[in-house]
């Protein structure tokens, strides 16, 4: 398709440049701060040109925060979140879009409500679940009297326990349990024309075959978008890992980064080593940026048209 649209092309470039400029200014300032000395970071008025301390600061941040051992380690968390979320979200959305049962909307809303209460707010009871993931079932058994029944009949005391503290499962599971992915897949699945479903049924393809052979390949770009976002979200998780990981061998990079951030809430106040914290930010940013770049290859127009 060849069109000549010189003016529009100019406008396009102008708009993209402006947008890029607005979005990149804060990052530029992070780099500026990461390349300055401590007095320069604090200077009045602010110095807006990079200094020459970037490598020095990056080295300092690297040594201060022990990122080295954490990096490979940390990959497991966002990867787990991405895989878990995509699989679970695609399955659930499939179950509520392509089947005609009365629970479709209730299930969708049940999943959706999980977006409404951030982890910070429910962190105390969520920790209790992570300390024993089977505690809900134990409680249900106890309350309904089943525990007593089993005990009376067989003499076995029911004590379910599955401790997820200091484990990747414990890190990943609560982060997988949210609705964004399900909602996105629902939106996408709803655009799949009925004819495609009919055709698949005509060919004798079962639901799972249809999901695997048709829907998954079609949803590739959406999946790439979701994976990119979820990877970044998972990578930058901070509060939850801080709480449930007390064993340094499971530590994640975002928590290490937060240790670099000067503590301004003590009555005394810390030395504001913002230049190190910013250099640390640049280090911690690398893997997500790599993922963004890597995921680009998935952002290609689908070869198969949905032929509406």
């Amino acid at each position: 398709m060849i069109e000549r649209t010189p003016w529009l092309n100019l406008v396009t470039h102008a708009i993209l440049f402006t947008g890029l400029f607005i979005l990149v200014v804060p990052i530029y300032l992070v780099i500026v701060a990461a390349s300055q000395t401590l007095p320069d970071v604090m200077a009045i008025p602010a110095k807006l040109l990079p200094g020459d301390q970037l490598l020095v600061n990056i080295r300092a941040a690297w040594e201060e925060a022990a990122f080295g051992t954490k990096f490979t380690n940390t990959m497991i968390l966002p990867t787990g979140v991405v895989v878990g979320k995509i699989v679970i979200a695609a399955l659930t959305a499939f179950g509520i879009v392509f089947f005609n049962h009365r629970l479709r909307m209730p299930i969708f809303w049940m999943v959706f409500i999980t977006l409404m209460l951030p982890l910070e707010v429910r962190i105390v009871p969520t920790y209790a679940v992570a300390a024993n993931a089977l505690s809900p079932f134990q409680t249900i058994l106890d309350v309904t009297g089943f525990s007593w029944l089993i005990n009376a009949v067989s003499g076995i005391e029911v004590a379910l326990e599955w401790n997820l503290l200091n484990s990747y499962t414990g890190l990943i599971m609560p982060l997988v349990a949210t609705a964004t992915g399900t909602f996105l897949y629902r939106q996408f699945f709803l655009t799949i024309p009925d004819e495609l479903v009919e055709a698949a049924k005509m060919d004798g393809a079962g639901p799972l075959r249809f999901l695997w052979d048709i829907l998954i390949p079609l949803s590739r770009t959406n999946m790439a978008a979701l994976a990119t976002i979820m990877f970044v979200v998972g990578w930058n998780q901070y509060l939850w890992p801080l709480l449930i990981i007390t064993d340094p061998s499971y530590g994640v990079a975002a928590v290490e980064l937060s240790r670099l951030v000067p503590n301004m809430n003590t009555t005394g106040g810390d030395i504001p080593n913002w230049h190190w914290a910013m250099a640390g930010t640049l280090i911690v940013m690398l893997p997500p940026v790599a993922v963004v770049i890597f995921m680009q290859r998935w952002f290609v127009r689908g070869l198969i048209n949905t032929d509406k």
Binding site: L16, I22, V30, A46, V121, L208
Partner: protein
């Protein structure tokens, strides 16, 4: 809506089971415990509680400061969503034209999402600091033009800009993905009919983008209500004089820092009801205009 379905509901049950199991254990079970506290006076270290019915709610709803927090949150949510989605949509539409160099633009526009939160707070402080930041140059030219420390609406503007900034990349990436799943044959056919690029955008791409648009609208509004704690904490601490005291920040401040679990739980319930009703309205009235197939 859809007319063609698969029949086997056992498979449906099987595919939704994992999600339901996980949200039951890791969301509903703990959340219901947290929400139960809303009707009690809970001792944080677990020494017991006293059932007080709706007292915590009555206290909140009769407090004009609380209503102010609701107002501020609503303004924040609408403003950040409009700003972020507007900008992301324009950028995505133009990036989707795939002119030369668009791949680097794409990476550049998504990249900001990867920056960790504390760094963003500091970067924006560099920009908005009235006496030493980028904004201070404005204050040289027009004295007292910009004072987010003591002026509530300036502080709010600052928080909205930072909050929207964080969401632009997020919306951009999904808009772009949405645009890319529009079959090329459609736009090509229109081009053959002599429709110019801008016309194709309006007539073909935008309507077909509505499912993504709706997804982002709902997610952005929900997120700006429930996930705006960090920005407020690093930039304004809810001040000055409660001008940026968003609901979720207040929940965090009262519950997490102040250990008033019951008050925070009651606020969480009100926040949930508010966001659920907003979402419901969107599903009821906005989704009708969404073109799925």
């Amino acid at each position: 809506m859809r007319r063609a379905y698969f029949k086997n509901n056992w498979i449906a049950a099987l595919v939704v089971a994992p999600q339901l199991l996980i949200i039951f254990v890791f969301f509903y079970w703990p959340s219901s415990q947290a929400l139960y506290w809303a009707f009690t006076l809970e001792q944080p270290w677990g020494g017991g509680n006293e059932w007080v019915w709706f007292e915590n709610f009555a206290y909140l709803l009769s407090d004009d400061r609380y209503w102010q927090s609701v107002r501020v949150s609503t303004v924040y949510a609408l403003a950040t969503t409009a700003l972020a989605m507007g900008m992301a949509l324009i950028l995505a539409l133009f990036a989707d034209r795939q002119l030369r160099g668009y791949k680097s633009f794409r990476i550049g526009l998504i990249w900001p999402y990867a920056v960790a939160a504390p760094a963003i707070g500091l970067a924006f402080r560099f920009i908005f600091n009235p006496s030493a930041g980028v904004a201070s140059y404005l204050n040289y030219a027009f004295p007292d033009f910009w004072d987010p420390i003591m002026n509530g609406s300036h502080a709010m503007t600052m928080v909205i800009i930072a909050g929207a900034w964080k969401q632009v990349s997020y919306s951009f990436i999904f808009f772009l993905a949405g645009l890319q799943s529009i079959p090329r044959s459609l736009t090509e056919a229109a081009a053959m009919d002599g429709a110019r690029p801008m016309r194709r955008m309006m007539d073909i791409q935008l309507p077909l983008l509505t499912p993504t648009f709706f997804f982002l609208l709902v997610i952005n509004i929900t997120d700006s209500f429930t996930d705006s704690f960090g920005i407020v904490d690093t930039m304004t601490s809810g001040g000055p004089a409660r001008a940026t005291n968003l609901m979720v920040y207040k929940i965090y401040e009262d519950g997490f820092r102040g250990l008033d679990y019951s008050g925070a739980a009651a606020q969480s319930i009100i926040l949930m009801i508010l966001v659920i009703s907003l979402t419901f309205i969107q599903f009821r009235y906005v989704e009708r205009r969404v073109h799925y197939t």
